[in-house]
Symmetry: C2
Subunit: 270 residues, 2 copies
């Protein structure tokens, strides 16, 4: 889930690797928003090999909600392109284990549940583009409110791959019109973390009946001088996986992401 | 004015230079929209040297409505950076001559009115970005309707320079939300022809009381599934000059632009 918020009192680490080692060693146990400013954080989905090929195709077909940063080899917990020493079994503060589409446990590591057929998918997260927006001076209400970004299932369907199919989930940030234009410019530079908005204004056009009733996260006020701006959201793959009800899968617990060695600024294509 | 529309029956020329020579030789006498696809067209403002320095600063202070492509030396009709053989006295199909802020004549050339103290300003025009939008498959209603783009005086003030001051004039194109996002991306690449929109949705926020009553050009319908998207407009400098009431000035007649040797695609900064 790409909607965590920085918790008060979180320690700040100078690099992604320092943050990750603090997670691995049990020093950091909470949400990860803001713990390593400038470093890319990633959504996690782990699936058995039997489903992994179709999910890989699903990500390729749906790059805006599912921008794949890296995928592991089956059974291999390493992700060398995201950080030399990453062990996906230990480097996230809290995991959610799913059986047949239902969450059955939240665990601080995967030592007891890891299998040789598991493939880890790491998917870009809105934290990266939110950092770029905030650095540009664009206020983001859910951050100012200290809440999770509001997210909505839409009437837009993803492109199916094998059993994976379902509605696009979007996150919404209310912006003044000039900031909305600037936000399109900024987030267009970051296709690997959802990229440009998919919709602006007019929530009813994408099947959102009540902007104050998000399907995930917390509501935020859209003021009269603001437009709701919608981005494809990393909750989409979680929602799609849950609908398939795999016999076994693992995700990060909401807000507890993998902190990588990649710098947000290096994700910019321009 | 950057709001001409392609006239039926206009001859199409292969290059800007061919179009310009046809104008110079009296072969082409009408509006210029679409007569040399791919080549940059420019708005014209000619002022006496006594006002030129302030106007030059005005353009620099207000690059979105007044993106200056070139300015001549006083009394020199050439514009070598826009085309090797340009003579600004003969290369526009129809000129409008102004005295004390009032139009007093429309003439096919400036041979009788040219003065040694005149400075020609050539300002980027929305034709260039409209061509990029249409090539991307984004429909533009005023083009489909065969009308002039609607333009509005706004409550946004330009940055004054000397006597030059006044409201920003914007052009409006109704777009579906996804096309509006794409249009921000495309036009951001073209800062020398007005660049990204200045506003989107919510016309009342920029002082537009009735979207169906433009101050210049023709109204177009904004459908329920569309947002009005507003760009800074090259009518702004004309409006600002008219308010100063210079003892003598010259502009192109609406829709009758200078066709240059520059290619629209070469204006893209990315």
């Amino acid at each position: 889930m790409n909607a965590g918020v920085a918790r008060q009192g979180n320690r700040i680490f100078a690099t992604g690797r320092e943050a990750r080692l603090a997670v691995r060693n049990g020093i950091h146990r909470g949400q990860t928003a803001g713990i390593a400013p400038g470093f890319v954080q990633a959504n996690l989905a782990i699936l058995p090999k039997a489903l992994a090929d179709d999910f890989f195709r699903f990500c390729q077909f749906n790059p805006k909600p599912c921008p794949l940063l890296a995928a592991s080899e089956p059974g291999d917990p390493r992700l060398p392109t995201l950080g030399e020493d990453i062990d996906i079994r230990t480097d996230i503060p809290l995991y959610r284990v799913w059986k047949n589409g239902e969450p059955v446990a939240e665990v601080p590591d995967l030592k007891d549940v890891w299998r040789d057929d598991l493939v880890a998918f790491l998917i870009g997260c809105s934290f990266s583009f939110e950092e770029a927006l905030v650095e540009d001076g664009i206020p983001l209400r859910h951050i100012d409110d200290g809440t999770n970004v509001p997210m909505y299932r839409t009437s837009i369907q993803t492109q199916p791959a094998g059993p994976f199919r379902g509605p696009l989930v979007v996150s919404m940030r209310p912006l003044k019109p000039a900031d909305a234009i600037r936000a399109v410019q900024i987030t267009s530079r970051f296709p690997s973390v959802h990229g440009a908005p998919v919709h602006i204004g007019k929530p009813e056009m994408i099947g959102i009946a009540n902007i104050m009733k998000p399907d995930y996260g917390d509501p935020v006020v859209v003021k009269d001088d603001e437009l709701p701006v919608f981005w494809a959201c990393g909750v989409t793959p979680q929602s799609v996986i849950a609908a398939v009800k795999p016999e076994f899968s693992i995700t990060h617990a909401p807000g507890h992401m993998l902190v990588t060695d990649l710098r947000n600024s290096r994700l910019a294509v321009l």
